[in-house]
Symmetry: C2
Subunit: 161 residues, 2 copies
């Protein structure tokens, strides 16, 4: 469990770590791969969320996913970019966060995922939680905690009583 | 400054956060781009270090760097992969860590970089520090700190004296 003082310090600089959907580059599942390739080449993120036309989260896609799909024995077959869509290569097993998940869960899952999509109860995409945002708050917390609090060992205190 | 108790908890589960060079996928600066493309498609990391033949760190390269280089008005020109080398597209401004840098510096720099290469005084590549490794230790720290210590507000203590 994360203690209340630590939790307070972690959430002090921003109460939510969410980057809202409006600020996140996404792709539609039925976009042609050629378009996906252009977006991923220029967006500055290696992997982005894939939505359907009603903003439901349906997958994640990266440049590597696309290149793997079109790579063959004799190199990369760029012709296939015109006939395939995002849905053909996206990863569909997407780890995600909902409003039921707490800060503890978020911190644990971000060990294995560079970012986590956040969805409502109908799986509508609301934004992402990133390692970057969390690390900003971690920096704040580790700098502040010992300047604000004395850390008194619980063992020693018990001994002293 | 990071306090001594926090620092001790952060470094308790592993004294170094380094992933040694032997376990990191790298490319040589004179590799053809076609080879770089294959490695980056299959390695599972979106960006990897570039070395010279004596293991000096000379750059970083990602799939997006390559695709940007070969993209033109009429799509991607795969022919260019055969004539270009890694050195032609790699990023040469590489944020990195040396033995002079402490944990505080590492934590701060990882806010903006997914990983940081670590080099010796001759710029020989020794490994990388990742957000993943740091977040593992952060999880340990935030769980342990309030079960091991009472956090006593310094203000209140001063008032009580």
């Amino acid at each position: 469990m994360i203690g209340k003082h630590v939790q307070a310090l972690l959430t002090e600089t921003e109460d939510t770590f969410l980057i809202p959907a409006a600020n996140v580059a996404t792709l539609l599942y039925n976009h042609p791969l050629e378009h996906a390739m252009l977006i991923l080449t220029n967006v500055g993120y290696s992997k982005i969320p894939v939505l359907d036309s009603e903003d439901h989260l349906v997958g994640l896609i990266s440049l590597a996913d696309i290149m793997q799909e079109i790579s063959g024995l004799t190199g990369f077959d760029m012709q296939r970019l015109e006939v395939l869509t995002v849905a053909d290569v996206m990863e569909v097993k997407v780890p995600k966060m909902t409003e039921k998940d707490d800060l503890e869960t978020l911190l644990r899952r971000l060990v294995n995922e560079p970012f986590l999509p956040y969805v409502d109860q109908n799986n509508v995409f609301l934004g992402i939680f990133t390692r970057k945002a969390i690390l900003k708050s971690v920096n704040h917390m580790v700098h502040e905690i010992e300047s604000r609090y004395w850390l008194v060992e619980k063992e020693e205190e018990r001994k002293a009583q």
